[in-house]
Every structure is written in C-alpha cells, then in structure tokens.
Symmetry: C2
Subunit: 533 residues, 2 copies
C-alpha cells in the first residue's frame, strides 16, 4: 500500500472509529456525512470579512482623497444633461462658462457623509440577500461579452439570449457565486428595448440570487420596472426588497457624463432600483497609466455619480463602482488578467473602505481565451487579491475570458471551485486557545499515537475549516492514471450538461410567467422550451 493510501485508510478508520464511539454506528456516521452543514459552520460563505491585504497605507489613501477633491473642484465633468446639471447645481455644484460642472469639496464631503451605506442587496429568495458592509466580501458575475466560449469546439461564437438564461441557472446552483450580473449581450436580440427587457427577463427567471443589469436608454426602464413589480407582487414590495440593481456607466472617462446612461440612472432612482455607479476607465487610454492616477480618476468619477444620485434622492442605495481597467501598453488592448489590474482593484476596495461606502470593482477577467493554465492564474491572482482586500462586491469574478469579450459556462463551474478557495483565504486563520493546539500537540507527542490522524480536533475541523473543490482533482498520480486521467474541462462540460438538462428554477411560478407573457406579448423572446416549459 502506498504511503498516501495507507494514511487515507488510517484517517478513514480512525474517523469511523471515533464517530462510531460518539454516534453509535454506521448509520449515524452516514447521516453525519450526508447532512449539509448549517450556513454558519460551512468553511466558506457569502460576506466573509476581508481586509488583511492593504496595498495602500493610510497616508496614500488621504493623498488620493485630496487629489480627488482638487480635480472635482478644478476640472469637474463635461456633458451634463440638463436634468443632471439642474439637480447637481441645486445641490451645490457649479456650472462653469466652459460647460463643465464642478464640485466644491464641501459638497463631496457632505455627500459621502449622507450617502447610503450598510444596505442589503436582495435576492428574490431572501436566503441570497447580501449585507454590503465593512469588508464583507461577495463574488459574482458581470460583463457585456459578445461571445460565448465553446470549450468543446475551441471557438468563440456570438452570445445569445438562451446563454444568459443558462448562465443564470448555473449560477443559481453554485454556492460560491453570490450574485448574477448579466455577463453577456444577446446578439440574437438586436433591438435595444427587446435586448434590455429580455436580458433582465432571462436573469430574473434563471436565478433567485441578486441580479444586476443595464439599460440602453431611459425609456427602456419603464417596462422592466413593470415586470419587476409584477414578479415582486407589487411596486411597494419591490421597493422594499429590490432584487435587481442597475449597472450604470454614467461616465465616459475621463470626466464626462454619458448622456443616455444618465437618463437611465434617473429612471432607475425613481423606480427604486439600486445603482452601481460604474466608472470603467482604462489605464493608459481613458485613464492615467500611473496606477495611483487611475485610482484617483475613478474615485473622482464615482463620487460625482454619488452626488448625482443623492441629489436626485437622498440616501438612494448606490454602489461605489470604481472599475479602472488596464491597457497592455504595447498594443492598447485591455488586459483584465494583468497584475496591474489586481493592484487597481485592491486599491479601489481600500478607497471604498476609506469612505465607508459599499464598494464594487472587477477581478477574475482572464486575458486567456480558454479555461487554461493562464486563465487559471490570472483569475486566481486577481480574485484572491480582491477578496483579501475586503472588496464588498467582486464583479466579473467567474466565467469571463478574453478581457471581457468571451464568457464561458464551463468556467463558471470551475471558477466556483476557485472562488471557494478565495473565500477560504478571505476567512483567514482562527487564533484561539483551542486552535493554538498546545494541549493537542502535548497529548499527541507525550501520550498519544505520535500523529493527528483521527484526532478529535482533526475530525471536528474536517468539515468546518477545510474547503474541498467540487470538480477539482486531488488524486495521486497513480489514482489519476487508474481513473483514466480525468480532465477538469471534461468534468466541467459534463456537469454543465447535467445541470442545464435538470435545473429549471421555478422561483417565479408558471402562473406568474403566464401573466408576464400575456402582458408583454411578443416582447418576451426567450422560448418556453428553453425554460423547460
């Protein structure tokens, strides 16, 4: 017997023996193993507290804040739409002769003080509610990929509405992905209204987790609200527990308002939808190449959004969405998997904490086209650093490739494992008298068997302190060989097919869906057959 196999046998025998002593036999043991762990003793869970990694020191944060205030007072924003200029000027902004809207530091500081914080982003199912606070970390999807990555054919094809629904229902069952922002654009639904409406429909029908989406123009918000209110069981119910947020690119970096998105923002604030204030400059192209400068610009831009939202409706929930991206300066192409991206995102998490605002930023965007070793390390490095920095909402964390141009369903399944690792790292190390193990070590060395296999502490921590991958492989080379050299991609493909054949979430009852289809008629493009109906 090989040494690992021998150890395994001893562990299992010891475990069996110890459990048997405690619980009286095989049936009890089986029950113990089969019973799912309660949420509060699972090794990982949504909302673990990060923040042990701090790329910036306090003085850095203060200097960034000062630079931001200076820029907002002196440079400000171009291209405000009239309604935006109006509310901002009423709040204290100054519209210059050059058409730029400038923001005195008092206005910025007052806005930060009064802005919504410590709020919940709801799921349709309250089990998926996320309290956005402090350094609590949640991972989710996002993006506007135009391709679906076909792993079996090794090719990129246009993404479709059904892909969005399929991604949603996969995420619905993946424990380590906590929210679902629409990751792809439905290329088969070109009309902007139909695209916006069906994207949202596919998301909220596919998962009961919190959903993020965007809208092309202001006018497209109303029918979406009508649908959301219907699903919630009424407008007031939706306003009490909004389970959709609006990913809103209100800024065209550097420092200009995006006119259509501002219209959308106003309609969403009015309709009771939380806003992700998203500034997505690209360092070296639309933001400074210096990492600190890219952070300064992103913070300045998002704070303008915060003034805008709070001028429209004081205390409306808004996420501090500093998402500076990186250019590969050799080509100008975006590099989402780069080390510089990991640093930018972690720095943004710290700025959100500096203001005690709910922070969202992006990580996990691989440059690699396929789920390969490069995408693995790009995702692993950026996602774990985002979590360790205590970022509240890690967008783009799963499924994404080609620097946001391709989304991959198999990667969702594999990344769910990876995000389990990230969350276990975020959870960190418990230092208690019991964990320090003086008694355990003493007993094992002086009176015990000279090893910890089957030790009471080992058995106790096995399920609560150790994270195990679902598709990841931990076989020895011998076992791996005997089992036909299992391939993680093949496993993920099989798991995807299994889930997509079986899992048709029914949190929105069929009767209600019938009503939506009656109300919206041809506007709904997702066929019932694709929804298992």
């Amino acid at each position: 017997m090989s040494a690992p196999a021998e150890i395994a046998t001893v562990v299992q025998d010891s475990a069996a023996e110890a459990r048997s002593r405690r619980s009286g036999g095989r049936e009890a043991r089986r029950a113990l193993r089969a019973a799912p762990l309660a949420d509060d003793v699972r090794p990982v869970r949504p909302g673990l507290e990060g923040g042990r990694y701090k790329p910036l020191v306090q003085n850095d944060l203060e200097r960034i804040h000062e630079a931001v205030l200076t820029l907002l007072e002196t440079v400000g924003f171009a291209n405000a739409i009239p309604s935006c200029a109006d509310v901002c000027v009423k709040a204290g902004a100054i519209l210059g002769a050059d058409g730029r809207l400038r923001f005195p530091r008092g206005l910025i500081e007052a806005t930060i003080r009064k802005a919504a914080r410590n709020f919940t982003l709801h799921g349709q199912d309250p089990r998926h509610d996320m309290l956005i606070q402090g350094t609590r970390v949640h991972y989710g999807t996002a993006g506007a990929a135009v391709h679906l990555v076909d792993v079996e054919k090794r090719e990129y094809r246009e993404s479709q509405l059904q892909d969005i629904y399929d991604a949603a229902r996969l995420v619905d069952g993946l424990d380590n992905i906590h929210f679902f922002q629409r990751p792809m654009v439905p290329r088969d639904v070109p009309d902007p209204l139909a695209m916006d409406f069906n994207t949202l429909y596919a998301c909220v029908m596919g998962t009961s987790k919190h959903v993020g989406t965007s809208f092309t123009v202001r006018e497209n918000v109303a029918p979406a609200l009508e649908m959301l209110y219907a699903i919630a069981g009424g407008e007031e119910r939706f306003r009490a527990r909004p389970f959709v947020s609006n990913s809103n690119c209100f800024v065209v970096p550097p420092m200009k308002f995006a006119e259509d998105a501002c219209g959308v923002l106003e309609a969403c604030v009015e309709g009771g939808i939380p806003i992700l204030l998203l500034s997505a400059g690209q360092a070296g192209a639309t933001a400074p190449a210096a990492i600190a400068g890219a952070v300064v610009q992103a913070v300045a831009e998002v704070l303008v959004g915060l003034v805008y939202v709070n001028a429209l409706k004081p205390g409306h929930p808004a996420i501090f969405g500093t998402w500076p991206f990186v250019s590969d300066l050799r080509t100008g192409a975006m590099s989402g998997g780069s080390a510089e991206q990991a640093l930018l995102t972690a720095a943004c998490a710290q700025m959100a904490q500096f203001y005690d605002l709910p922070g969202g930023s992006a990580a996990g965007m691989a440059d690699s086209k396929l789920p390969d070793i490069q995408s693995g390390f790009e995702k692993g490095i950026t996602d774990v650093m985002a979590g360790l920095s205590g970022l509240n909402l890690v967008y783009e964390s799963a499924g994404m490739h080609a620097s946001l141009l391709g989304f991959c369903l198999e990667s969702l399944i594999i990344d769910n494992d990876m995000l389990g690792y990230c969350q276990r790292c975020v959870r960190g190390i418990e230092v208690t008298d019991a964990a320090l193990s003086i008694d355990t070590i003493t007993e094992v060395c002086l009176n015990g068997p000279g090893h910890y296999l089957g030790n009471e502490q080992t058995l106790r921590l096995m399920q609560t302190e150790y994270f195990y991958p679902a598709v990841g492989d931990r076989f020895s080379p011998k076992e791996w060989n005997e089992k036909g050299k299992p391939d993680i991609l093949a496993r993920a493909i099989a798991e995807k097919k299994r889930v997509l054949a079986e899992r048709f979430p029914r949190h929105v009852p069929k009767l209600l869906d019938d009503r939506l289809r009656a109300t919206f008629g041809d506007l709904i493009k997702l066929p019932r057959s694709g929804m298992g109906l």
Copy 2:
C-alpha cells in the same frame, strides 16, 4: 477597424510620434525598444518588498510565540543523536529522563537574538546573489518529485538525472525564478551517494543561480564539499560566498529529530554550507489540523533547529524553514494547492518577520496533475499570497504538480510568467505626486486630446511599471483566431525545446569540469553529451 485595433494603432502612432520628437527618429526609437532595461527600473526584480498582506494581527503572533515557548519547555524533542544532545545541553537545553530534549524559554529567546539574519544567499554568478532581509521576496524551485510530467504524452514517468540538469538550465534563463533548489529525485541513480553527488553536480553545472540540495547521510557531504570547493576556486572562497544551501529535514514532525538529517546538518555547518531548517509537518496527519496549531508546531520545530545550528556554530546562516503542509482530510492525501496551504504559508512568513529571521516556506504546489486551469489558480493564489505576505524565499513556486509528486519543465516556463505577475503585485502601488496625476488628468481633460494614449506619462511608465508575459496570450478573439488559436502549452513545449537545444551554461569552465571528472571518476553520472559537450 475594431475598437481595440483602433486604439492599438493610435497608441503606436502616438508613441512613435512622441518618441520621435524626443529622440530624433526611427533608429533612436528602435534602440530604445531593443535596449534591455537596467535592473533597477525593470517592472519586477528579485527582492521586492512584500508584507502588505497580513493574515495574523500582532496579538496572534504573540500568542503563537507564547504557545511555542510553552511547548519547547514542556514537550521538547525526542530522538536526539548524541552529538546533538551534547551541544544542545551545553547550550542550555535539558535532557529529560524520558529521553526528550527540552528548551527553556531563555535559550530560545537568546538564540533568536543571536542567530544570523540579513545575510546573502550567493549565486555562482554574483548577479544572482539574494539579500535575505525584512520582507524581501524571492521565488524559486524545490521538491523531491519522483516523476517528470510529460505534457505531450499526458503522462507521469520516473524523473531522471538529465531532467534535473535540464530544469536547472531552464531556470538559469528564467528571470522571475531566482534560485534553484533541486526539484526532483534522479530515479536512474539509485545509490544514495551517487544520487546526492550527481543531483548537486547537475544543479551547479546547470545554473549559476543559488542552489539548494539535500544529502541522505552525513558521509555524503564530504565529496560534495570537495566538488564545491573546487568549483569555487578553493575552500576559503566557497566559505566566503557559499552558493549552495542544504535543505535539511532535521525534524520528523511532530517534535522528533531525524537522525540521518542531523548528521548531515552537522557536516554542512562544519563545511560552510547554509542550512534551510525544514519542518514539513502535514496538518491533520503529522501536525494539528487547526491552522494556527500547525503554525505553532512548525515554528517550535524550526526554533529547535536554530538552537542546534547556533550551538554548533554561533551565527551560522540558517533559514527559518517552516513548511507546514495540508492534508485533504477526506483522504489523508497532501493538498499543496489548497487555500489552507496559502494561509499556512503566509502565516509562516509573518512569524519569520516577527523574529526578524530569514524565512522560507512553500507555495505554488498544485494538486492538479497537469498545467491546466486548476493548476493555474492553485499556483496563482498560493504564490501571490506568499509574495504579498513578504516571504523571503518562496520554495516550490514553479514547475510543481500533484502535490510535489510530479515536476514539469513546461510549467517552469509558464510559471515564470505567473511569478512575474506575482512580483508585480508584490511591488505594489507607487503613490507620489507624479503618480497621483493631478496635472496629467487636468491637462488631458481641459487642454488635451481627452485621452491618455501617447501621453508622456503613458510612454514613460510603459516599460517600467507594466509587466508583460513572455508566453501568455493577450490577443483579441479575432487575432487569436487568425493566428490559429495559439495554445500556451504548445508555446511552452516549443520554448522548452528551443532552450534545451541551445542553452548550455558554461559558468563552470570545461577545464574545471575535466578536473572534476578526473577527480571523481565514475561517480559523475551525467554524460557530457547531455551537457552539450
């Protein structure tokens, strides 16, 4: 033209134009691009300072230290060989009636105060010297894998002496791998003396970077020293700049001396070889399952080694080699790629810093059998966290698979890219007035082109602040498709073949090698043909 392509053209044109203004034309531009960057302006380099990630707070560190002192006073170590017991007792340890050697806290504290710190691990080429100090980070290989991973055949075969030499010469040319500890065992050289001698020979002939190796028994050290002194140009020269350290498993966890390794340790200290004091307990098997407890035991064990080394020769260079590993508690098998491993390693880095001792620990050990997405995220997460924690010497960081059972030459090449990313993350974010970019942002927004492409700052930072992968792929999906969907593994295979066909390091001149072969005769097993001679 696609948006990225358009941006790329603008970047390149702007870059060309700006450079042209500064330097007077194409030739100057070409020279600028072709000239290698001086070491101090490269985006990454050996010895960058980490430490921005701290899984433990100060109180945790102090509690771990107290637990360690308690265990060393009360439990101590079993199985001291007579020479070890003698020197330790002379230093102040107490040999109990139960045969265990116990260490009063005063002895431990005095040893920590007096131990060697801030020393250099030398390369044969001084360019590769590593100053081990503070939170300076270096990445390298290590291990005793018994298999070489054949990526092309997707199989594990027995590792051979030539593989070690090949790994050494690959590492010799990979900038982001800073030292070479022998990663494999030559299964084709079964005799222990020949195995130890040839392993070392293959390493020191293959690379002029610092080498780590181990010895089976005390007697095998003398011929190795004879060879090393000859290569150095004399004993005194080697002692002045020892370019080999001894990876020494002096402890069989929990808390027992390894008798043969102690003999080796004594011979190496006497011969002038720095010692890596390596405690490799496995949490849940030979160390407590509680992460804090595994750290406590590892620190206690290594401090005993430090007492031993300093009792033999005060101030002899020794590395604080706390290497606690992780068991997958479902099977008892080691899980080197786990999240728990990342936490253990980062915690050990902090304990070394707590004592201001040169710390070495392990990261980058994938559970996955092949260079795939799983190995990517396992390596990425564990290696970046080791660096961010400021670990001085990150062993096992490149090339390793199957939790130390398989070593892969193609992974060395890919991991060199990944370690570049890790080092860029370790380097962190520069916050200076220039980097904060107030003037740059103001100029671009108010008077400039409204973007940063071709901006003076962008061009200046392009080479010095941004890390670019060598084999990693950052093409757009369109380019990727046009280029035949390049595969990172295929690229790494081609690069490995190219390097192994061309790169035969000659830092040990052929004349000297002739002399070694004359002196040691049949003991040298690596054929000259395999060394390009």
